[in-house]
């Protein structure tokens, strides 16, 4: 059952009557988990033929007063719109939300997303609906220009501010909200991996039969060692660059910059000075420990291999 939102008079009046009793808490700061835009992109790529906008529900947590919102996940909601009217499958939204609640009871509805370069024509109507869902808090609206109309994804956040007469569906205006990405450690690692291939301009590697490989590139997972190697290489590169700059300044070929100089001073003074003897002792001790561990674990592995082969002898 798709509830037609074209005539949402009752819902608007409910919002307004609730608002009369208690001012809806407005979000001030929004944190966005990187998985959300990825999901939105996925949803957009799977849209129906001739559909140019997709919408969905944003889930997340709020601080106690509702001032800080963290958007943690989202799910798509089917909808249908024409110039004059819009239908949102509210039943789908409700049931899916309830199913998700079984896994993660802490997450609540914090708002909704839509794709497009600017706020859609029917956004006020949908906003009314989500405002009801998110009561007693405010609902956040996120838009993402997945069609790249503005040549950038341009993720924007809005909160709805109501005005005008009771029962007036377009009595809402969207005020921009500040948001930041939150980068939990594990997610950052995935992002780094993904970032490794972002420089690839050859977008569609072809497989043997010449089919474009889903217009993306594929990055294999890397090991700790490779990651470390890369980090060291990057570090060396940076040191080399700074070194070059300092040399140029000393030679007089480049104009010295007080700000950079001060920054470098600050950096160098951060380096702890350990007395060489002490350092050597620490270094050797630590190294011995690690080597011991490696030795022991190799021993165990050899044992496991031997016992496996012994099975044949018995």
């Amino acid at each position: 059952m798709a509830l037609n939102l074209n005539l949402p008079k009752f819902s608007v009046s409910t919002v307004n009557s609730v608002k009369k009793n208690k001012e809806v808490e407005r979000a001030h700061q929004v944190y966005l988990n990187p998985s959300v835009p990825f999901s939105v992109i996925d949803h957009y790529l799977r849209r129906n033929d001739k559909q140019d906008r997709v919408i969905g529900t944003l889930l997340g947590t709020r601080s106690e007063e509702g001032k800080v919102v963290e958007i943690k996940s989202c799910f798509p909601v089917p909808h249908f719109e024409t110039d004059s009217h819009v239908e949102v499958d509210m039943e789908y939204h409700r049931i899916f939300y309830n199913t998700l609640k079984k896994v993660n009871p802490n997450e609540e509805i914090v708002g909704w997303y839509a794709t497009g370069s600017k706020i859609g024509k029917h956004a006020p109507l949908i906003q009314e609906f989500y405002a009801l869902e998110a009561l007693p808090h405010d609902s956040v609206h996120m838009i993402m220009d997945t069609g790249l109309e503005g040549e950038s994804l341009n993720i924007q956040m809005f909160s709805g501010i109501y005005f005008g007469a009771v029962g007036q569906p377009d009595g809402v205006f969207f005020s921009p909200l500040k948001y930041e990405f939150s980068y939990p450690k594990a997610e950052r690692k995935v992002l780094e991996l993904v970032a490794m291939s972002k420089g690839d301009v050859s977008t569609s590697p072809k497989d043997e039969s010449g089919f474009p490989n889903g217009n993306g590139s594929v990055v294999p997972l890397i090991t700790d060692m490779e990651q470390l190697e890369q980090a060291i290489q990057d570090l060396l590169e940076m040191v080399r660059r700074v070194n070059g700059y300092v040399k140029r300044v000393i030679d007089g070929t480049s104009t010295p910059d007080i700000v950079v100089g001060k920054y470098l001073m600050e950096m160098l003074s951060c380096v702890p000075r350990i007395d060489p003897e002490n350092f050597e002792a620490l270094f050797q001790g630590h190294l011995q420990n690690l080597l011991m561990v490696v030795y022991l674990s190799n021993l165990v592995r050899a044992q496991v291999n031997i016992s496996n082969r012994l099975l044949w002898v018995v």
């Binding site: 990187p34 998985s35 990825f38 992109i41 996925d42 799977r46 849209r47 129906n48 943690k72 798509p76 089917p78 049931i95 199913t99 079984k102 802490n106 341009n154 993720i155 980068y183 939990p184 594990a186 997610e187 950052r188 995935v190 992002l191 991996l193 993904v194 970032a195 690839d200 977008t203 497989d207 993306g216 594929v218 990055v219 294999p220 890397i222 090991t223 700790d224 060692m225 490779e226 990651q227 470390l228 890369q230 060291i232 990057d234 700074v242 700059y245 910059d257 700000v259 950079v260 920054y263 350990i274 270094f283 690690l290 080597l291 490696v294 592995r301 050899a302 496991v304 291999n305 496996n308």
Partner: protein, 421 residues
């Protein structure tokens, strides 16, 4: 110089971690080698799936979680994982779980997502996943209609301490074949309508393992995992980095318009290249807690291994004792009968020698029955768990090397840093 040493050391350790200890195999064991060479299949996951699994695992940490993955199989054996959904930890019964799964599938289908179940995922800590419960689950998945089901293992602890760890596994055909045989046998023995036989530990003994050529490293087969990056996602990455760089201006020394803004560019690009600001995390000389945990778990596994070995030895000894009893009994019996036979002019029966083991097939039918009745042999303790335990040990020792390798490299890096100053 120090840099060179550190590099070669690092390379050595990295190689060490990847390779088996190489002992040349005798000819009749060459299949071990063969079975280790995995096919060219790969698993490609979308970043969204990785995020979802990470999130699910983190929110329930330290409990382990599981969920299901959907996707499609592309030609050439590549499995594309396009979505996943978590399964709640507590279900009252199985119907509820099935209903939940069906519901989820329907929802995914409605928004044009793939609704083709291709496996499941679970989270673990420090590579601990060679366990019976997981094995049984995977057997169930691979025995169902989609026998290509995979299991994705996300290691929360390793992701915390190192690189993102997600591995894909599949049971080998050998193991599946063995399980199938065993189930068939069981069903023949006690026919019932209930098709859901589960394989118990004691069902698999040494003989089975020998016959099926099963060993600790060919129960599971690892499939390499890659992450897919769509063009739109690349755009997103650029924008996220851009935004982060804007937020990352901590002081005003980088303000444009300051003197020498051109040279500032140097420093600025350096910061931008830092990406998500965490690439250098790996350089931190952090205390190796994970190593400690790892070693603790290794000790546990070794204890378990010794226990298994002891109980097997105990069984072996008991069996040997019973066997010699049987032999002595038969020898005595035969001698008595031979005395009678010689007296009546018949050929004497062969008396089994004490030095060679008793072969039941040389006995007469009634003798066989008699000894089997009198001297009961105990059943061999099951070997499946100990094989799994060995697999676990093997994985953990590998991981230890993988953890210590970078640590040593880091140490050398610090040393060269300290001396070069």
């Amino acid at each position: 110089m120090a840099e060179k040493v550190q590099k070669s050391m690092a390379k050595f350790l990295a190689r060490e971690a990847e390779e088996e200890i190489d002992l040349t195999l005798p000819k009749h064991l060459e299949w071990i080698e063969e079975s280790e060479g995995a096919g060219k299949r790969t698993v490609v996951i979308e970043p969204m799936v990785a995020f979802k699994i990470i999130k699910h695992a983190r929110e329930q940490y330290p409990n382990t979680v599981n969920g299901q993955v959907v996707g499609l199989e592309v030609r050439g054996g590549t499995l594309e994982v396009t979505n996943c959904f978590p399964v709640p930890a507590q279900f009252r019964n199985e119907t509820e779980e099935t209903n939940y799964q069906l519901e989820m599938m329907n929802y995914l289908q409605e928004v044009n997502m793939e609704s083709n179940l291709i496996g499941w995922y679970f989270s673990t800590k420090n590579g601990r996943f060679m366990q019976r419960s997981y094995l049984d689950m995977q057997v169930a998945y691979q025995e169902s209609s989609t026998n290509k089901a995979i299991v994705l293992v996300h290691d929360v602890a390793r992701t915390k301490n190192g690189a993102f760890s997600l591995r894909a596994f599949q049971l080998t055909d050998k193991f599946l074949e063995l399980i199938k045989q065993k189930k068939q046998k069981k069903q023949d023995q006690q026919p019932s309508d209930d098709a859901g036989f589960s394989i118990e530990d004691e069902d698999i003994n040494t003989e089975d393992i020998l016959k099926s050529k099963l060993s600790f490293n060919n129960i599971y087969e690892e499939i390499p995992v890659s992450i897919k990056n769509l063009s739109l996602m690349k755009v997103l990455m650029y924008e996220m980095e851009k935004q982060q760089c804007e937020n990352a201006k901590p002081t005003n020394w980088m303000e444009p318009g300051a003197e020498g803004a051109k040279d500032n560019k140097n420093v600025r690009t350096a910061i931008e290249e830092g990406g998500f600001g965490s690439k250098f995390d790996t350089l931190a000389l952090k205390p190796i807690n994970s190593l400690q945990e790892q070693l603790g778990m290794m000790t546990e596994c070794i204890d378990q291994y010794i226990q298994d070995a002891n109980s097997w030895m105990y069984w072996k000894r008991g069996t040997a004792k019973e066997m010699s009893k049987r032999q002595a009994y038969i020898a005595r019996k035969r001698q008595e009968r031979n005395a009678v036979r010689v007296a009546s002019g018949q050929e004497p029966l062969p008396v089994p020698s004490i030095n060679s083991p008793l072969d039941l097939s040389t006995l007469e039918e009634d003798e066989k029955k008699e000894v089997e009745k009198m001297f009961k042999l105990q059943k061999e303790p099951g070997r499946l768990n100990s094989v799994l335990n060995m697999a676990q040990l093997h994985i953990m020792t590998k991981q230890t090397t993988q953890i210590t390798g970078p640590s040593i490299a880091r140490l050398y890096a610090v040393k060269s840093f300290d001396t070069s100053e």
